[in-house]
Point group: C2
Chain length 143, copies 2
DNA sequence: TGTTATGTCAACCATTGCGCTAGACAATGG
DNA sequence: CCATTGTCTAGCGCAATGGTTGACATAACA
């Protein structure tokens, strides 16, 4: 599962993508529109700022905007930055690989091989779609 | 991320699949071979027993075995049973749907649509592979 | 019968992580 | 100078996680 914080992050960046090139968006606007606790959002946006995904301006009429065109920010990037990895287990991460606790030798761990496959499929979806892409709502039909 | 418990569950069931039709496997065998704390494993296997994935026998020479042929147990099933869902957010689960906290209306939530897509891809991988399938170790090459 | 080897179960416990807030500070515009 | 914005570090409370304890049930076997 994605943490609440990661979900907030995604929604906040979606919001900024919607307002791209329309000037700075103050934090409270995002918080209200997206139903995110304002104080918590400061933590989130500061992180995104440090990560280089958004730029901020302080003082009156300050706010946030995306540091890059939405097309250059994929959902994969966002989740990797916020959560560290797309994988279901630490040892199946390609960018933030870490040994799993209480596991056996990685080199012939079948669970790891399986989870790498899942990770790669996940990445195929999430890296292909950027903040600029319209999202196909069709998938919701069957749920 | 999968919880440690879910990882243990998968490895324990893999172990039982390897020993399928070779008689009952005592808990301590699994615990030792798979490096899982024995007492904790009792909790896990009891759950799997209640869920109908394994059958157990008490008393001397007792132990566990899969309740079904390995081919009839997919990794998707295991994870769903252990963790409740394959999805990255509660509202994107197809079998255990739940409203996300602090979200907006689900019906036009783009994040949900995206996460449903990811869930479906994940399910496509995990439901296709069962405990009877050899796992392709090729994916590990690039990591 | 009783002893030993197993699984069952409920309760509990310690630690960690998560979600979030507090509060002091910095900078920008008017 | 003051109002409005973002920045930063600390910390807090709660729930979940990972795991243990210990009493109990059951089965095989001598």
């Amino acid at each position: 599962m994605l943490s609440q914080k990661t979900r907030y992050t995604i929604r906040a960046l979606m919001h900024l993508a919607d307002k791209y090139q329309q000037g700075l968006v103050p934090l409270t606007d995002i918080a209200e529109a997206q139903n995110i606790p304002a104080k918590f959002l400061t933590v989130i946006l500061s992180e995104m700022s440090r990560a280089g995904l958004v730029v901020s301006q302080r003082g009156r009429d300050g706010g946030y905007e995306l540091a890059l065109p939405p097309v250059d920010i994929s959902y994969g990037d966002i989740i990797r930055i916020s959560r560290g990895s797309l994988a279901l287990v630490p040892c199946a991460s390609r960018f933030a690989h870490e040994k799993c606790k209480n596991c056996l030798e990685e080199s012939n761990c079948r669970m790891r091989a399986l989870m790498l496959k899942v990770r790669d499929e996940t990445a195929a979806v999430l890296d292909r779609i950027s903040l600029a892409d319209p999202i196909d709502m069709g998938v919701m039909a069957e749920g």
